[in-house]
């Protein structure tokens, strides 16, 4: 789940020494609040796009559960990472020098994971609860423990964890998994590789040091640039799909085409500029824009749905 933003290097908040124990800020930071915010936003879009969103209070409770579930994933991932992980782009701001022991982090993450899944299942519905459980399990077992340090396809397959939140949101509203929510899933799923590979291009040394077999480390930067273009070319039409399926309207289609064209242009710039500062700049620009792209698409879906409801 936190996959959208994780991957970063050593975490001083988890320490084998007991020291003075973790502060509240340390525990909050373990949950990776910035990742949580993106997860909550995409889940909110899933909730609101459904034909009949739930009572606002239930929607807020559902979002709270999804946020806590995402935080649990982040904390459990950090237990696994300890000093070896990479704090890359989504490094949380430094907080206090306190330490959280791995055992504390494990307990914290486990309690939050079970609590969030149980609450969502009991209060909202079992489909949403089961999807949240699947997301956390997928992120920890499949991504963090299995793929992350074994294959350069880590973020391709593991990216599914970050793509589940809108699906959970849709299930919150409908109690089912519709083609619409699969569409939202696929957009984030296809967005994840170019997003992380752009980051990996300019943080390659960090990943190398941390022993994470990201694509540029294993297959080289040329292959990574090629893969970025391929995935971007697949992503852009997918981004338009909601407009053809009736989930979004003309405004969304226009924004999706414009943002998609810029995304492709930036991906091609990454492909062409292979050395020096220009290459570094192109990778950083694509990484930053990819976040804006995803946010833009989902914000438009939300905006259009809001306008539709006002007009109705």
């Amino acid at each position: 789940m936190g996959n959208m933003a994780e991957i970063g290097i050593s975490d001083s908040r988890i320490h084998s020494a007991q020291a003075v124990g973790g502060s509240i800020g340390d525990f909050v930071a373990l949950m990776k609040p910035r990742v949580m915010s993106l997860v909550v936003f995409t889940a909110l879009v899933g909730i609101m796009l459904a034909p009949e969103p739930p009572h606002p209070a239930l929607a807020v409770i559902a979002l709270l559960c999804i946020a806590v579930g995402a935080g649990a994933s982040g904390a459990l991932n950090m237990v696994r990472c300890r000093h070896r992980c990479v704090h890359a782009a989504h490094r949380e701001p430094a907080h206090s020098p306190g330490f959280v022991t791995p055992e504390e982090a494990l307990t914290f993450g486990t309690v939050l994971a079970i609590g969030s899944v149980a609450t969502l299942a009991l209060i909202v519905n079992w489909v949403a609860g089961a999807l949240l459980a699947l997301t956390i399990a997928f992120y920890i077992l499949v991504y963090t423990m299995w793929l992350k340090r074994r294959t350069p396809q880590n973020i391709v397959i593991g990216g599914a964890a970050g793509a589940f939140p809108p699906m959970i949101g849709w299930a919150v509203s409908t109690g089912s998994i519709g083609t619409e929510s699969i569409m939202l899933f696929l957009i984030i799923f296809m967005w994840t590789p170019p997003h992380f590979w752009a980051l990996a291009l300019y943080r390659m040394r960090d990943y190398e040091r941390a022993g994470v077999p990201m694509l540029p480390v294993v297959a080289g930067t040329d292959e990574t640039r090629k893969q970025i273009v391929i995935y971007s070319a697949l992503l852009v039409p997918l981004g338009l799909w909601p407009a053809f399926m009736g989930l979004a309207g003309g405004l969304y289609a226009v924004v999706s085409i414009v943002l998609g064209a810029v995304f492709l242009a930036f991906a091609l710039a990454v492909y062409h500029h292979r050395e020096g500062r220009q290459a570094d700049y192109a990778a950083r620009r694509l990484f930053a824009f990819s976040i804006f792209y995803l946010f833009g698409l989902f914000a438009m879906l939300l905006l259009e749905r809001g306008i539709d409801r006002l007009v109705d």
């Binding site: 003075v20 973790g22 509240i24 609590g115 209060i123």
Partner: protein
């Protein structure tokens, strides 16, 4: 453990305890609100 370290350790433990208490209180509120929303007026409908 030195005195100042012990004081800091106790302070953090106290803060963690307060945070756990607040989280539990929030959970009570969440279930209370969910019950009202889910059952509405039927909360009082308990035929004997």
């Amino acid at each position: 453990m030195a005195d100042d370290e012990r004081q800091e350790w106790e302070r953090r433990r106290r803060m963690r305890s307060i945070a756990i208490a607040l989280a539990l209180a929030a959970l009570v509120v969440v279930f209370y609100v969910a019950t009202l929303v889910r059952l509405g007026g039927n909360v009082l409908n308990r035929p004997l």
